[in-house]
C-alpha cells in the first residue's frame, strides 16, 4: 500500500519539478507583460537563493534534481525518498475548539446561540431546524462540528447511499430478485429514527442530525415533497436538525433557494445562518497556525516550511476557501517536492505602508476567479489602464466569463454604456461596434461568431471610451419590447369584424391616431342619443 503511494507521489511531483525550474520559466515568459515575467523570475530566484545553489544553471536536469530537495535547513533527505502521507492528513489540521476556527466570531456566535436555544427548549420542542449556507470552504461544517462537540451533541450525518438495495422476502437469494428501494423512504426513516434512538456504540445522549448530502429525489421532484417531510419531522423528530448547503451560482442548482423558500423557513422557524467567504486576514492567521502544526514533532518528518511568498499566493488564490488553501499548503510543503511556481496578478493592493504591493497567485493550482455581471459591467464601462497603456482587465477574460450568455451581456452593456461617455464621437465608435456585434450574434450558423461578437462589443466599448465619466450610476436592465394592442373598445367597434384582420403594427401606423379622433366623436354622439340604442 505504502509502496504504491510512494511511487504515485514521486511520479506526480517529478513532473512538476520540470515545469517549476527557473530555467523553463525564463524560456517561456509569462503571458502578461515583460515586466511581469521578470518579476516572476526574480521571485523564484530569490527562493532558490535560500538553497546553496544560488547561480542559475542552464542545465534543466541538474536544476530539477536540485529542486526536488530544495530546502537546505532540512537537507537530511536530499536523496531520500519523499515522505509518506498519512491518509487522513487533513484531520491533524482540523480545528479542535471554536477558538481555532477561521470563521468570523459573529457567525460562530450566531450558531452558538441557536444551539443554546436548542438546549433550552429541548424538552418541549426538540425538533429545531437550522440552515447553514455559504460559499464552499467557508467553514460551515467545521464550525458545526466544533460547536456540537462543545455542547456535547453527537453529530449524525446522512450520506446518500450508493444504492438502496432491499432484499426481497426470500431473504438471502442473490439472484436478481431485489429491487432498489426509494431514496426518499430511506431518508425519511433516517430522519425519524436517528433522532429518536441512539446508536448502540454511543455513550452520548444528545444527538444532532446533519444533512449535507441532499437526496436527489428532493431536487427533481416538487418541493411539496420536502415540505411534507419537514412537517412530519417537526412533529415526530426528537433532536435538532441542521442542513448545510453550499452556495451555487445557478438558480437551478441552488438548493437553499429551491428547497427552502421563505414561507417554509417561516413555517418551521428554520434559523438561516449564511456564512461568508473567509477574509484574507483571518486566512493568513490560520495559515500561520497550520505552519506551526507542521512544525510539530509528529509532522516534521512530512513537511518542510513553505516560503512566505508561496503562503501569500495560496491565500490569494484560494479566494476565501480555506479547504482549498489547506490542500494547496499541504501539497506545496511536502518534503521532497519543489516549491510551487507562482504567477503575478496584475492587481495592485495597497498595503499598510501605502505602497502598492503586487499580488501573486499560484500558477497552476487555485480557484478560478469568478466574476459577477455587475463587476464585469464595471470593468467594461470604466476601463482601467496600466502605466504602459495596456488594459488592466483584458477583454478576452471578460469574454470568457460570459460566453455562455453573450446576448444578455451585450444588452446590459448597451443599456448602461451611455452615461459613461463624454463625447459623441466616442459614442459613435462604441455603438458602431455594438451594432456589428448584434449582427454577429444573430448569425446562428456559426458558434464561434457569438464569442467574436461578444468580444467585439466588450473591446469596442472599452477602447472607445478615452475618459470615462466616473461616479455612481445605477445599473439598468435591458428593456424588453412588448407590443400590446392599443385599440380601445369604441375603436374596435368602429372597425367591426375587419379589426381582427389588421395587425397591431399596421393599426398603430395607419389607423390609431385618426380612428381615435373619429371614435371620440362617435361616442359623444352616442351618449347624447338614447341609452337603449347604445346597448344594441
Amino acid at each position: 500500500m505504502s509502496a504504491r503511494k510512494k511511487t504515485w507521489v514521486r511520479c506526480a511531483f517529478s513532473e512538476m519539478n520540470l515545469t517549476a525550474s527557473p530555467v523553463t520559466s525564463e524560456a517561456t515568459p509569462a503571458k502578461r507583460t515583460r515586466s511581469a515575467s521578470n518579476v516572476t523570475t526574480r521571485v523564484s530566484r530569490s527562493q532558490s537563493g535560500n538553497t546553496p545553489k544560488s547561480t542559475p544553471t542552464k542545465i534543466p536536469a541538474v536544476e530539477s534534481v536540485d529542486l526536488t530537495a530544495i530546502d537546505d535547513d532540512q537537507d537530511a533527505d536530499i536523496t531520500g525518498p519523499p515522505p509518506e502521507v498519512r491518509e487522513n492528513w487533513m484531520d491533524s489540521f482540523a480545528p479542535a475548539t471554536s477558538e481555532d476556527l477561521a470563521v468570523h466570531p459573529k457567525k460562530i456566535g450566531e450558531l452558538r446561540d441557536w444551539l443554546r436555544h436548542c438546549e433550552v427548549v429541548r424538552k418541549k420542542f426538540p425538533a429545531q431546524m437550522c440552515l447553514l449556507t455559504g460559499p464552499t470552504g467557508a467553514g460551515k461544517t467545521a464550525t458545526l462540528r466544533c460547536l456540537a462537540k462543545e455542547f456535547g451533541f453527537q453529530v449524525q450525518e446522512w450520506i446518500n447511499p450508493v444504492d438502496c438495495e432491499v432484499v426481497n422476502a426470500l431473504g438471502d437469494q442473490p439472484s436478481g430478485a431485489s429491487y432498489v428501494g426509494s431514496h426518499l423512504e430511506a431518508f425519511k426513516s433516517f430522519l425519524l429514527r436517528a433522532s429518536r434512538y441512539k446508536s448502540l456504540l454511543d455513550s452520548q445522549n444528545k444527538r444532532l442530525l446533519l444533512v449535507e448530502d441532499f437526496p436527489n429525489v428532493l431536487l427533481s421532484d416538487k418541493e411539496a415533497n420536502f415540505e411534507e417531510l419537514l412537517d412530519e419531522y417537526s412533529t415526530y423528530g426528537k433532536s435538532p436538525l441542521v442542513f448545510i448547503v453550499a452556495d451555487s451560482k445557478s438558480r437551478g442548482l441552488n438548493i437553499s433557494y429551491r428547497l427552502f423558500p421563505d414561507q417554509l423557513k417561516a413555517k418551521h422557524r428554520i434559523e438561516h445562518i449564511s456564512f461568508n467567504a473567509i477574509a484574507s486576514t483571518i486566512m493568513q492567521k490560520s495559515m500561520k497556525s497550520f505552519c506551526s502544526i507542521m512544525q510539530q514533532p509528529q509532522n516534521k518528518a512530512t513537511y518542510k516550511m513553505p516560503s512566505s511568498a508561496v503562503v501569500d499566493s495560496i491565500v490569494v488564490g484560494a479566494q476565501g476557501d480555506i479547504r482549498n488553501a489547506l490542500i494547496n499548503l499541504h501539497l506545496s510543503s511536502l518534503k521532497g517536492v519543489a516549491s510551487m511556481p507562482t504567477k503575478q496578478l496584475n492587481v495592485g493592493v495597497a498595503t499598510k505602508g501605502r505602497k502598492k504591493k503586487m499580488q501573486s497567485t499560484l500558477n497552476s493550482i487555485g480557484r478560478d476567479e469568478s466574476i459577477t455581471l455587475m463587476h464585469a459591467l464595471g470593468r467594461v464601462l470604466n476601463p482601467k489602464f496600466n502605466e504602459d497603456k495596456s488594459m488592466l482587465h483584458s477583454p478576452e477574460e471578460l469574454t470568457e466569463a460570459f460566453n455562455t450568455e453573450p446576448r444578455n451581456f451585450v444588452n446590459f452593456i448597451h443599456a448602461n454604456y451611455l452615461p459613461h461617455f463624454r463625447d459623441i464621437e466616442e459614442v459613435v465608435t462604441a455603438i458602431n461596434d455594438l451594432g456589428l456585434s448584434d449582427a454577429m450574434l444573430n448569425e446562428y450558423r456559426d458558434d464561434a461568431l457569438s464569442v467574436m461578437g461578444l468580444n467585439l462589443a466588450i473591446r469596442g466599448v472599452m477602447l472607445a471610451n478615452s475618459s470615462p465619466v466616473s461616479g455612481w450610476m445605477p445599473v439598468r436592465g435591458p428593456k424588453r419590447i412588448n407590443i400590446q394592442s392599443q385599440a380601445s373598445l369604441a375603436e374596435q367597434r368602429l372597425l367591426g369584424v375587419g379589426f381582427a384582420g389588421i395587425s397591431m403594427t399596421l393599426y398603430t401606423t395607419e389607423y390609431s391616431s385618426l380612428v381615435k379622433c373619429i371614435a371620440s366623436k362617435h361616442s359623444e354622439d352616442k351618449s347624447s342619443q338614447s341609452k337603449d340604442s347604445f346597448l344594441n
Binding site: 448569425e443 419590447i481 368602429l494 395587425s503 385618426l514 380612428v515
Partner: protein, 356 residues
Amino acid sequence: MALWVDKYRPRELSKLDFHKEQAENLRNLCKQSDFPHLMFYGPSGAGKKTRIMCLLREMYGSGVERLRSETMTFTTPSNRKIEVMTVSSNYHLEVNPSDAGMYDRTVVIDLIKQVAQTHQIEISGQREFKVIVISEGDELTKDAQHALRRTMEKYVATCRIIISVNSTSRIIPAIRSRCLGIRVAAPNETEIVSILQSTCKREGLALPVELAKRVVDKSERNLRRALLMLEAAKVAKAPFTANQEIPDLDWQVFLRETAAQIISEQTPGKLEKIRERLYELLTQGVPPNLIFRGLVEQLVNNCDMSIKAKTLEFATEYEHRMQSGAKHIFHLEAFVAQFMNIYKKFLSELVMTDDF
C-alpha cells in the same frame, strides 16, 4: 356605423375605381376553373386587400362577405400558447401571422393544415378549394416562409394561398416562383382626389378641391390614410373649408419632434433621451423600418446640403445592419449617434469659417 374606408370600399371587381384593366384580367382569371396561388404586392393603402376581397366575391359569391372573427390558439413546440386573431367566412380565412412574432412558423403550418385537411362541405359551390389570405406576408420570418413553401405544395388540392405583401424583396424566391404576382400600384393624385370627391358626395358633403389636394399630399398617396384623414377632419370641423386643419398621424408628429431634438443638441445625454423616445415608438408597435425612414427624411430635410450625402450613406449602412441584426434599437441609436457626430462637426466648422 362604419368608417368611410370600409363603408365605401368597392365590393366587386367591376366597381373598382382605378387599375381597371387589371381588374378585368382578374375577372378573366376567375372564369377558369383552376386558379394559382397569388401574391398581391404594392405599397400600403393601394387597395390590395380590397382587390383580394373583390376577387373572392367574384369566385364564391356574396357568401364571402359574411365574416366572423375568431381567436385561434396554437401551441408552439416549446409548449407556449399563442393566440392569433383570424377573420373568416365559409370559403376563406384571413390571418396575420406577423402578430405571432417569432412563432409565426407554427401558426403558418398549423393553420394551413387545419384548413386544408377539411374539404368544402357544399359541393355545389363553384370551387373545390378554400382560400387562405395571409396579410403582411413580408413580415414572416424566413423559417415561416420555408414552412409555407412546403405546405403550399402539399395541400394544393384543397387550398389556395393569397399573400399580400408590401415588397417582394423580403419574400424568399421559392415562394415568389410559386405564386402569380399581381402588382397593385398606389393610385395617382387625380384618382385619389376623384375618390375623395365621390365619397363626400355620397355622404352629402361638399369638398373643396384645395382641401382634397392637401389631404392627398399629406397622405403620401395612401388611399386608406387619405380617407381616414378626411373623415377625421370632418369630425373636427363639419362643413369643409379650403384651409382647415388636417389631423396628423401622432407617431409622425412624435418622430418629427425627435428629429428636432437631435438637431438641437448633440451630446451623449441627449442621445439617451432620444433612445427613450425611440423605445416608446417601438413599444407602441411602429415598425423599426418606418421609424428609420421617417427619421432619415426629417433629418435630411433639416440639415445642410454638405452633410446630406453622408447622412444617407450612413442610413443605408445601419438600415442594412438592422435587417441582419435582432436588436433594432442598437442600429437606430447608432444612426442617431452618427448623425449627431457629423452634425456637430459641421457646426464647429461653420463657427471656424465664420471667424475668419
